[in-house]
């Protein structure tokens, strides 16, 4: 089974702090994604990466950055956390071209910024 793990299930940070969310997948997937999930808004894509050191902005990249130094690890960085970044953050990975792009999700990190 594909496993996607996230470093924390719950996180509480203060406004202005730099926040790192880590995600690791164990199936050698090319693609990795970061979403935020908010009630009534579904999943909104923040960033995705289709290869090591490659990244593309999603729908809501403002206030976030990402890092992918190794194929299995994809980090989301909040440079200066704000209260409107309080949310559930989901990491996912998927296979590449020709394999349908079915995504496998981690358990999520519920981030609260106070």
């Amino acid at each position: 089974d594909v496993k996607v793990t996230q470093s924390s299930r719950y996180l509480v940070k203060r406004t202005g702090e730099k926040v790192f969310l880590e995600c690791v997948q164990d199936m050698d997937h090319e693609n990795m994604f970061w979403y935020r999930q908010d009630p009534g808004l579904g999943l909104r894509l923040i960033y995705f990466s289709y290869d090591v050191k490659m990244k593309e902005k999603g729908d809501i990249p403002e206030g976030y950055s990402v890092s992918r130094e190794k194929k299995e690890r994809f980090s989301l960085i909040l440079e200066s956390a704000s209260t409107n970044q309080t949310s559930m953050y989901l990491c996912a990975s998927s296979l590449g071209a020709g394999q349908g792009y079915e995504q496998y999700f981690g358990p999520g990190t519920r981030l609260t910024v106070t």
Binding site: G42, Y50, Q103, F105
Partner: protein, 114 residues
């Protein structure tokens, strides 16, 4: 812009009732289609998927979905729901022009009353 629309935000059913959740997507050529489910306290997981071939696809737990290309729809169905089907359901569409990322609908919360 590519978009996915789920018609119902919240559906309440009694056990043994039939279920149909609507999903429509904007025109975008060749697509792969997915339904994901998130049970309370659990991570998102794949329910079923359509890549090609028979437009009626069957997934886990008795769910099925039908791809109707002329209507740009991929509705999810189950003939008889159970209390354990209480969850949030997301439709997702992968457009082959989209470099590996899928677009998600806003989600439908299903509550099944025992």
């Amino acid at each position: 812009a590519q978009s996915v629309s789920q018609h119902n935000h919240h559906v309440i059913l009694s056990e043994a009732a039939s279920l149909e959740l609507g999903c429509n997507y904007s025109y975008g050529g060749t697509v792969n289609l997915f339904w994901y489910v998130q049970y309370p306290g659990q991570h998102l997981q794949l329910l079923l998927k359509y890549f090609s071939g028979d437009p009626l696809v069957k997934g886990i737990k008795g769910f099925e979905a039908e791809f109707i290309k002329s209507k740009f729809s991929f509705n999810l169905r189950k003939p008889s729901v159970q209390w354990s089907d209480t969850a949030e359901y997301f439709c997702a569409v992968f457009y082959n022009t989209n470099a590996g990322k899928s677009t998600f609908g806003d989600g439908t919360t299903l509550t099944v009353k025992p």
